[in-house]
């Protein structure tokens, strides 16, 4: 196992399409790194360049201190799990796992050992003589996993490996993949467009948009300290609520105001705005950070549009002009549609975004 | 499902009814009529039934099958006739065997749709033997402005009754590329060439050019039998219809003399190297891959007309007796049970007019008119030249028609000659393999009906 370094990696298709632009990344040894972004953001292309399935237009890729930029896939010692499994239908499970080992001229006995071990890890050791067409989707994915582990690669590449599975299986496979990752101690790059998958699995998440990295950080970082409107909106279910406000300063302190809202910032929070000279601002607040308060403590008063019970909690939706704001509240709170609500915010969790640059004002 | 099947049945029945009830004599014509309405002119499309007289004539022909000849015959010959008479002629090219089969079927079912046939003289007997053709005497005897050359009466007239009128004849001519003239043996003359000189000439060309230049049809069952037999006739082989040996023959002394000349060419590598893939000498002569050939006058005409300054034409060569040539003709006959005999007779009269005869035979590449008076119209363009040379052959040659109907299958007869060519002439050492010839002659006799 080793580190992966990508330096200013760019991929251009044809004359006009830039899929990945100046991509810089360092993946630590044994790290589980997730590339996250909407479809078409370049995350898969970035991974395929690591695998050697796409040529790099410019930039360098290193595995450890090995420059693999121009090596063919077979010389990189990477392994990959594909979205559609890509197990070979004309080979048995055993043959699928053994393919790479045979190509390495491993002797039959060692191959047997490796296949036994890896198929045990992937829980398919009882299916070795079957053909893929006789397996379920989940089982096929396990074959792909076993095949990937068997080669003992420097790095695992997983290209949306769970997205073809049904919802329940997907969640349980997350746990298994993480377990396997820990057991194998493998440096892993995992591509997905599903933010909850990314949050639940990643040591660090790389969020990409239009071929460029937007933010790199731990799940905590990207959730609580989103560095841009894009990240704040992309991460979290429901996503961050955004309110357009103007800054008003008077003797009381700094107010954020709009037609519905009059929020007096605490001095500590207001400090964040020091050095921000524009009048307009976008306020970002996570749904669980909006709290129900008494009328006199409210920064915002409105009525409940609908409630969406979730069992463990409920989501309350309110409408401000044409915007829906969502609030996560305790499940036992009894709130009816149309009921008056008085709201305030946990000030320390507020995020401020410059409407022009869409970037966060604080780190 | 049910509805669908019902619909299907209705559709099928409808189609059957339509076919059955199709009007025989009237045709629906879409006419554009200009109607005046309150000062405005409106063009209306009106569908109405118009009585169209059934003056159509079906002519099946085994002649004029090359597209160029076909187009000329239809556009330049038949069209004026149709305009003159209002008769529509449906002209179809049919292979000889197919034409016979077609008529057989029509006679068997009593549903005669072919009114007139243009057949090869060697096959006249197929039709006259069956008694399907009508006598043409009544019409032909009234003609005083034209006289039909008697060369083909042997086949066209049976027991004093004429069933066919030949309208086009063909013989064999010699054509040489002018480049070949440098090698012409001393004392030889294209208009009085002998086969010995021809063979020497061919060998001399091959030696000088390092490549054989004589063309014949090496692909089996094309024209070699005629090209060769013209030479056998020149060495005195009697024409078909005479007591044996007569054409077609492979091993008679006269024939052997002819084989000797061809074998001399073969041993001297005088034939084009790719001779076995040649099915028609025209292209090869035009492309100058071949310089020398004794071949059919229409083919010669085609080559000569393409560039008359490049080629010289003469009659077919002589053997030790005379010029020899296969002479063939194509003739018109009228099916006796035809419903359109009158229209057919009009076409017969038209096609035998001297000026039409010349126009038709010239236009289709230099066939020979069979009406003597047509020759009065000869001018001096390249095709006229061909026709003149061909006439020399027709007048002087020891000729033969093709007794196609004496044999089970003429193609099989042709093949025997092709076999001898590839075995003895092309790949032989210049000597005569009498045993081979005798064996082939036995095979030939076995093919007789």
């Amino acid at each position: 196992m080793t580190t992966l370094t990508m330096e200013k990696v760019t991929k251009q298709f044809g004359r006009n399409v830039i899929a990945v632009k100046d991509f810089d990344l360092k993946v630590k040894d044994q790290e589980f790194l997730v590339l996250l972004g909407p479809s078409g953001c370049g995350k898969t292309t970035a991974m395929r360049m690591v695998a050697g399935l796409e040529e790099v237009t410019s930039g360098q890729i290193f595995l450890g201190d090995r420059n693999i930029t121009d090596l063919p896939p077979r010389k990189r010692n990477v392994s990959m799990i594909f979205q559609n499994y890509a197990v070979w239908p004309h080979m048995t499970v055993y043959e699928n796992i053994a393919y790479a080992l045979k190509l390495k001229n491993m002797d039959k006995q060692s191959i047997d050992l490796v296949v036994q071990k890896t198929s045990g890890m992937a829980k398919i050791d009882n299916l070795l003589e079957r053909y893929p067409s006789q397996l379920s989707g989940g089982q096929q994915q396990r074959v792909a996993v076993a095949r990937a582990i068997a080669v003992n690669p420097d790095i695992f590449l997983m290209d949306e490996p769970l997205s073809n599975l049904d919802a329940k299986l997907r969640v349980s496979m997350r746990t298994e993949l993480k377990t396997i990752h820990h057991k194998a101690g493998a440096t892993t790059v995992f591509v997905t467009h599903d933010q909850s998958e990314a949050m639940s699995m990643a040591d660090r998440i790389v969020i990409m948009k239009d071929g460029e990295v937007v933010q790199i950080g731990t799940p905590d970082d990207v959730y609580h300290r989103s560095n841009s409107l894009f990240v704040a909106d992309f991460i979290g279910t429901p996503p961050t609520n955004f309110l357009k406000v103007v800054i008003k300063k008077d003797q009381e302190g700094t107010h954020l105001k709009n037609a519905h809202l009059n929020l007096l910032l605490e001095p500590g929070t207001a400090k964040t705005l020091d050095g921000y000279s524009k009048e307009k601002l976008i306020l970002g607040i996570r749904p669980e950070n909006i709290i129900l308060v008494n009328e006199e403590d409210a920064s915002l008063s409105t009525s409940c549009l609908v409630t969406e019970p979730q069992g463990s909690h409920q989501i309350i939706a309110i409408q401000l002009d044409d915007k829906i704001i969502k609030i996560v509240a305790a499940a036992d709170l009894k709130i009816k549609t149309g009921e008056d609500l008085h709201l305030n915010f946990k000030q320390e969790t507020l995020r401020f975004f410059d409407p022009e640059t869409t970037l966060a004002l604080s780190d | 499902m049910k509805k669908f099947s019902v619909l299907m049945i209705i559709a099928l029945l409808g189609a059957a009814l339509l076919t059955a009830c199709a009007p025989a004599e009237t045709v629906t014509v879409i006419e554009t009529v200009i109607v005046e309405k309150e000062g405005e002119t409106i063009i209306e499309t009106v569908e109405k039934e118009v009585e169209v007289p059934s003056k159509t004539l079906v002519l099946d022909s085994e002649m004029f099958s090359p597209p160029a000849e076909q187009i000329f015959f239809i556009d330049e010959i038949l069209k004026p006739f149709e305009e003159e008479t209002g008769i529509t002629v449906t002209f179809q090219i049919v292979k000889g065997e197919d034409m016979f089969d077609r008529l057989t079927a029509q006679q068997a079912t009593g549903h005669v749709t072919t009114d007139m046939i243009l057949a090869f003289n060697g096959r006249f007997a197929w039709y006259t033997d069956e008694g399907w053709m009508g006598s043409l005497d009544e019409t032909v005897n009234t003609w005083d402005d034209r006289s039909i050359l008697p060369a083909f009466d042997g086949q066209a007239v049976v027991d004093g009754t004429r069933y066919f009128v030949p309208i086009s004849a063909d013989v064999y001519l010699t054509i040489a590329n002018n480049k070949a003239l440098d090698y012409l043996p001393v004392g030889a003359d294209m208009d009085n060439l002998t086969y010995e000189q021809y063979a020497d000439w061919a060998v001399a060309i091959a030696a000088g050019e390092n490549e054989g230049k004589v063309c014949m049809t090496g692909i089996p069952m094309k024209m070699w039998i005629y090209q060769f037999s013209s030479s056998a006739l020149a060495y005195g082989l009697p024409g078909a219809g005479n007591p044996e040996p007569a054409f077609p023959n492979l091993n008679a002394p006269q024939t052997v003399k002819a084989w000797e000349q061809w074998a001399k060419i073969g041993a001297g590598d005088g034939f084009m190297p790719t001779i076995l893939s040649v099915d028609n000498c025209v292209d090869f002569l035009m492309r100058e891959e071949a310089w020398l050939s004794v071949t059919h006058n229409a083919r010669v005409g085609q080559v000569y007309a393409s560039n008359e300054t490049q080629f010289t034409v003469g009659p077919a060569p002589m053997g030790d007796t005379a010029i020899g040539s296969i002479a063939g003709a194509h003739g018109l006959g009228i099916v006796e049970d035809s419903a359109n005999v009158e229209a057919a007779l009009l076409l017969l009269e038209y096609l035998t007019r001297p000026e039409i005869q010349l126009k038709m035979n010239k236009g289709t590449g230099g066939f020979l008119p069979v009406v003597a008076e047509a020759l009065d119209y000869l001018g001096d363009d390249p095709t006229d030249e061909i026709i003149r040379k061909a006439l020399i052959v027709l007048d002087n040659a020891n000729g033969s028609f093709l007794p196609v109907s004496d044999f089970q299958d003429w193609g099989a007869v042709k093949q025997l000659f092709d076999d001898v060519f590839s075995e003895m002439v092309l790949n032989g050492d210049g000597t005569i393999d009498q045993a081979l010839l005798d064996a082939k002659q036995v095979a030939l006799e076995a093919l007789r009906k």
Binding site: A51, G52, L53, P72, P73, R74, V78, S79, M80, F82, Q83, N84, A86, V87, W88, P89, H90, Y99, A100, L103, K104, R147, V151, L157 | E97, E211, G218, I219, P220, M221, K222, M272, P273, T274, I275, L276, S277, D279, D283, F284, R287, E288, E289, F407, Q408, D409, W410, G411, A412, Q415, D418, S422, L447
Partner: protein
């Protein structure tokens, strides 16, 4: 109650009968226009001119001087042309499947021969191969032949002509095989091959261990369909050398049926050769159905 069972059963029978009813019109068509002539042909092949049962027709065919050469020539053409065609077609399909810039135009160009009828192909090659034809002109133009130098393509031994025939046939047929193979290649998910590369394969190992095995049913289809067509080759042969000089099986049928139809032996020879070709083609077709798994389904169901 009894009535209910009755209608239930009737409905079941009705349901089972529907597929048979649906194929019935086709069956009629087959019986009228296919089975009947085939049976007639078969009967005729065992019937003497006098209408008696005889094996004589087959004896005549088997003792025909041209039979063994026809069988030999056909076999040579089938073996060599199918092999040649398969490998070149596979090569082209693999090339085009890589979707390099211009591969679309390349695909179009390679498809042209397929659009030409066999007669046109024959004519095209024949005018090309003749001594002053365009192939020699081209070679002279390219400087491969010296000025005035000639290659006599159409002259020479039967082996040389056979080789020519195979090349011409291949030229015409390769596109159709290629298109079948290309369709098969495009059906293989890209990732299965990519996985092959990632897990240690180079181009040839992936081709041998993954692409070709996955393509095998397509290959079988293409090769056997082609095999059947190659057995029936004749037109190109007679365009180049005419009848009888280089006999092949179907050419013999056409020869007796079209060229010398009036020989007394012709109907017997034609029907004898026809049945022999039919048997050979049927064996090839059965082999095709066998390897393509048409007979296997039943076993699986049981």
């Amino acid at each position: 109650m009894a009535l209910a069972i009755n209608t239930e059963r009737r409905r079941k029978i009705g349901k089972q009968i529907v597929p048979y009813l649906l194929v019935l019109p086709v069956l009629f068509y087959y019986i009228a226009f296919w089975a009947r002539p085939v049976v007639q042909q078969l009967v005729q092949s065992f019937t003497s001119l006098e209408g008696q049962f005889t094996l004589n027709n087959y004896i005549m065919v088997f003792t025909d001087l041209n039979f063994l050469p026809a069988l030999r020539n056909t076999s040579i053409i089938v073996v060599f042309s199918v092999t040649l065609e398969f490998f070149i077609a596979l090569l082209l399909a693999l090339l085009i499947n890589r979707k390099f810039p211009g591969s679309g135009i390349f695909l179009f160009l390679t498809m042209i021969p397929m659009a030409l009828p066999a007669v046109a192909v024959g004519a095209l090659w024949k005018t090309g191969l003749t001594t002053n034809g365009w192939i020699n002109s081209l070679l002279t133009y390219l400087g491969i032949l010296t000025e005035g130098g000639k290659i006599y393509w159409l002259a020479g031994s039967i082996w040389k002509l056979l080789a020519l025939m195979i090349i011409i046939d291949a030229w015409q047929v390769i596109p159709s095989i290629m298109i079948i193979l290309l369709a098969g290649l495009q059906n293989i998910p890209k990732e299965t091959e990519e996985a092959g590369y990632v897990f240690g394969g180079n181009y040839f190992t992936v081709l041998r261990k993954i692409t070709l095995p996955l393509l095998s049913s397509t290959i079988q289809t293409a090769v056997i369909l082609r095999l059947i067509a190659a057995i029936q080759i004749w037109l190109i042969v007679i365009v180049i050398v005419g009848f009888s000089r280089m006999p092949v099986l179907v050419e013999r049928i056409v020869y007796y049926h079209e060229e010398v139809p009036r020989l007394t032996i012709s109907p017997a020879m034609a029907s004898g050769y026809t049945i022999i070709v039919t048997i050979i083609v049927s064996i090839a077709a059965l082999a095709y159905l066998w390897v393509s798994g048409a007979f296997r389904r039943k076993r699986k169901e049981v």
